[in-house]
Symmetry: C2
Subunit: 303 residues, 2 copies
Amino acid sequence: MTSDSQPSPQALASSPVITWRQGPVGIVGLGLIGGSLGLDLQRQGVEVRALVHREATAERARQRCLASEVSTTPSVLAGCSLVVLALPLDRLLKPPQELVAALPPQAVITDVGSVKAPVLELWQGLHPRFVASHPMAGTAEAGVEAGVGGLFAGRPWVATPDPQTDPACLAAVRALAESVGAHWLSCGAAEHDQAVALISHLPVLVGAALLQTADRASAAGTEGLAGLVRALASSGFAAASRVGGGNPELGTLMARCNREALLVALAAYRQQLGALEQQVRQEDWQGLRQELDRTQDLRPQFL
Amino acid sequence: MTSDSQPSPQALASSPVITWRQGPVGIVGLGLIGGSLGLDLQRQGVEVRALVHREATAERARQRCLASEVSTTPSVLAGCSLVVLALPLDRLLKPPQELVAALPPQAVITDVGSVKAPVLELWQGLHPRFVASHPMAGTAEAGVEAGVGGLFAGRPWVATPDPQTDPACLAAVRALAESVGAHWLSCGAAEHDQAVALISHLPVLVGAALLQTADRASAAGTEGLAGLVRALASSGFAAASRVGGGNPELGTLMARCNREALLVALAAYRQQLGALEQQVRQEDWQGLRQELDRTQDLRPQFL
């Protein structure tokens, strides 16, 4: 991981410097990420041209002023110097042919997908100026109503370049990300996918299993137990189960697109939880206390 | 579970009605629960006599006005009509002989332990007017500095009476709990312990294993992965790991005192998480989506 890597002078000399402010910015999809980006960019005086799927979405996006121009016709992207593909992972990985054809050959293209290896592999073959990136900003909301100003401020925006990635295009995406206040990071695609499996996709299944257990184990107990667990669940349970009770479509998509890294994370998790269970079974209270001392020390590192 | 059960008229007739306001209230231990209760009761004009272990604690408790009188001598409890044992579980389960001897025979005695079956079993033999109870209120703080006014308002206060419990004593503890704004619940001790295993003790180990996994799996990866997971961990990971990074002493004590119910909960959890893992392994995306739809529906029931 590098957080402030600049392209080398040689790399910069080998390709022309692209200023993304040279032309309008295109955004494909005006959900939480696309809509929020549209609001932030327009506040900087940037012209934003957006492509959406449905006319009803376009109409609402115009009412919300999420972009300067909103259309359901791919030709709206003509003339854009940079295009952000703010699509859900499944559509990003199966892009309509007319979208690919409408991307200007000279434009820098980036995406916002939360899994990077398959996106990078596909899109490098579809466009020579593609840069894989992932702004790590989110709320529980989704859709055309979700976009808000300032979403990216202080949040990580991770790029996953590889040797094929044009350094000038990478620099252009970095400038875009930093213009909306994001904190730029760069790492390999596989490394990114392992990291998000551990801190983003694993917690979804861990929290989902917690809700299922509280529900099913209590339903199998005495008559009053199911009501009792609901009455006694505190803010600690609410926190532990938050992402496990989150957007099911997103959770499933992430598992599908990051399956291998998630399975590795799940195996590691199973081993850790098994070791704690073993300590409880063997009444190794000193050992359990040492592990909980350690996790108390660890947690601030992840905040 | 009953949330508004009144002792039957017959039960009330069989034992004298005890008004806990007849005399001072004793509190043994002035940590988060004891200190907060002392503040709330004094605000009602109740005289509070507190017994603490160390003179330094007594001195600080006097400065903070956590009780009307604070002493390290058990005889401070003489004349109290109701005594609340606000001790950590380990000390509650191995009470000093001089404490037991100092409890007035006519006083109603209750505790605040987060596990009830072993407490009820022990203390019913130690005092005829014992009522096992558990105010479910907490913050991350502990010790003599932790007590705050209003801690119990709107929070559950669970009693776990059994046929030996004197209905008049139960009514006295209920009146005390409701006087500080708590929501009174009553259930069996075993049922209580199963419920807290599911919604309070299991989440500690589930969250601890999540922190361990993010730490150890990333340390075993590429050079930059350990830093990357820390940089990318979002509010979702912070929430999921909150109780897993909480007070290690409390976590160990709860596991020790509620070991059997916790092992049952862990086995049920292992099965649920294993089923989700199996869906990911078998690429059963429709099945996974159904489970995540279900956990999304479930979560509001626990808030």
